[in-house]
Amino acid sequence: MAEPILKLSGVKADIDQYHILHGVDLVVPKGELTVLLGRNGAGKSTTLRTIMGLTTLTGGTVTYQGQDISRWPTPKIARAGIAFVPESMGIFGLLTVRENLVLAAVSGPMDEARLQWIFDLFPPLKKFWDKPAGTLSGGQKQMLAIARAVIEPRDLLLVDEPTKGLAPAIINDLADAFEQLKEQQVSILLVEQNFNFSRRLGQTVAVMNDGAVVHAGTMAELAENDELQQDLLGLGLGAHQ
């Protein structure tokens, strides 16, 4: 396994009075795509939000490239090179596609070559360049959300369920985009429910249940072992406590 870019040790987090994360241990290897699997309510999204500083961490540490970022404010985490695509996509619907990307390019004007690469990946963004992002379809919004995360080179992408509710053709486009990002050595932490999509892309995998990571290993190992899959992802997971 490559050296870790991100490491969570015993991370705990609450939302209101509910304890959501009960000590998450997770390692994201540098330059690889790690898939975070698990049932609804297992704490996957909260894990991403806690890394990003959006949910307050109540215990444990988050280490990113050797630095403890547990108490950093969100903007500082973002500027350190972590991009976050939430499940809701979080695009600015009243802003145009262009303006959404202008904002995402924090360090100045957008790089032409990189923009061209994004247009090649997601042609609809070029077509609707000056249209309000709110008028895009669900799949196009997801394209914009991912484009926004990669408009500048980033070291780590946190992506929450990008395939949710999308047509198979668009899911393929997204998979191509992730393949290209992997080739560029971008580290990615992907939350997914779609196991086929995860199996195609993921190199490492972690499975969460009830606010903790219950299995971590390579994707190849999990993909080959039907019993393990059944145990972790099938009905067995419910009784896994």
Partner: protein, 361 residues
């Protein structure tokens, strides 16, 4: 801000043959639904021109637009702070008073020599520092006010109302401490006082009398509106403000410190209130500590009417309020006070989110 979005369905149906087939009624319905602010303004102008004779109507309209421009200056800061951080700052009126006193001091005491010269250019030597000083003082007090009063009560409207009303009382008392409890008369700069007569020889408008100051207010108001639109539409700061109105969290995720942005907007909003205050002070030619507070009802009507958080909406809301006051005041003075609130109630029944809504996505 949402004009583009709402206007889009119209431009999309724009293939030539289709457009020709549409009847004028349909066109009107379209305008009503997609450009409610312009539709309402047009109706108000047309209805009044039928009832009032043309020359009077023209004078009333220019005065109404002047009043609207001043109202816009006073209200724009409040709509921005509400739109961006959903902070209800009821001390906004105190910033209007503060600006009026700061600017009035420059005009009436510090640079009164320049202000009393008959030359407009020499007057400007007093007017421009007065405007800048008012904006500066209101802005600086805004900075302190945000840190001390607003910051601890983010996200809690009830506390905001209590705390900002308290802050407002303190600010107005401070004005009394510094400037004394008495009203202070401020004469307009010489070149701006009085009126001028449009030469009789001109057709239609010949012979009407226009107050000079109102024309200046119109020009200044439009200039500041244009400047704000430019900032909001074209600059990165403007994009950030619009993005922040939609989702603060996602602005932070992009790597921007939303609190700095809000602090900047709060300072700018206070400075604009200060500017509006001087303009209002020169309009009334009398300064009282409560002069800003007295305007708060109109200011709140304007920002609700326009759609909370929308600069364009605020501008059109201010024009509508300024105009309806004068039209109704001329036709039936007893109804003038009711007209403003009546306008708001009517618009809200028709469009509950205001004329140009800023939808939280």
């Amino acid at each position: 801000m949402t004009e583009e979005t709402t206007a889009m369905p119209m431009s999309d149906t724009g293939s030539g043959s289709e457009r020709e087939r549409r009847s004028p009624i349909e066109w009107l319905r379209d305008q009503r639904d997609h450009r409610a602010h312009l539709f309402l303004l047009a109706i108000m102008l047309l209805a009044s021109i039928v009832v009032i004779d043309f020359q009077t109507w023209l004078v009333l309209t220019i005065s109404g637009v002047a009043m609207g421009a001043i109202l816009f200056l006073m209200a724009s800061g409040m709509t921005l702070t509400f739109g961006l951080m959903s902070v209800l700052n009821l001390a906004h009126g105190a910033f209007i008073s503060l600006g009026a006193f700061a600017g009035g001091t420059v005009l009436a005491f510090w640079l009164d020599g320049f202000a009393s010269s008959p030359s407009f250019l020499i007057n400007l030597v007093a007017i421009i520092p007065a405007l800048l000083f008012a904006a500066f003082i209101a802005g600086v007090v805004g900075l302190v006010f945000e840190k001390l009063v607003i910051k601890p009560v983010y996200g809690d409207h009830l506390k905001q109302i209590l705390v900002t009303v308290g802050g407002s009382i303190i600010l107005m008392q401070l004005i009394e401490v510094i400037w004394g409890p008495n009203e202070i008369p401020v004469t307009r700069p010489e070149a701006l006082s009085g009126a001028f007569l449009v030469p009789e020889a001109l057709p239609l408008i010949g012979g009407i009398v226009l107050e000079k100051y109102r024309l200046v207010a119109v020009v200044l108001g439009l200039a500041i509106y244009a400047g704000m639109l430019w900032v909001i539409d074209r600059t990165r700061i403007g994009i950030l403000i619009r993005a922040g109105v939609e989702s603060r969290e996602m602005v932070e995720v992009q790597g921007y410190r939303i609190h700095l942005l809000f602090l900047g907007v709060f300072i700018a909003g206070s400075a604009l209130a200060g500017l509006g205050g001087v303009m209002w002070g020169m309009y009334k030619e009398l300064l009282t500590p409560h002069m800003g507070d007295e305007m708060m009802i109109s200011v709140i009507v304007v920002i609700i009417l326009g759609g909370l958080g929308s600069i364009r909406g605020c501008f059109y809301g201010a024009l509508l309020v300024g105009l309806i006051n004068l039209y109704i005041g001329f036709v039936e003075p007893r109804l003038a006070a009711v007209a403003t609130v009546g306008l708001m109630v009517g618009v809200l029944m028709w469009r509950p989110q205001g004329l140009i809504p800023v939808i939280k996505v």
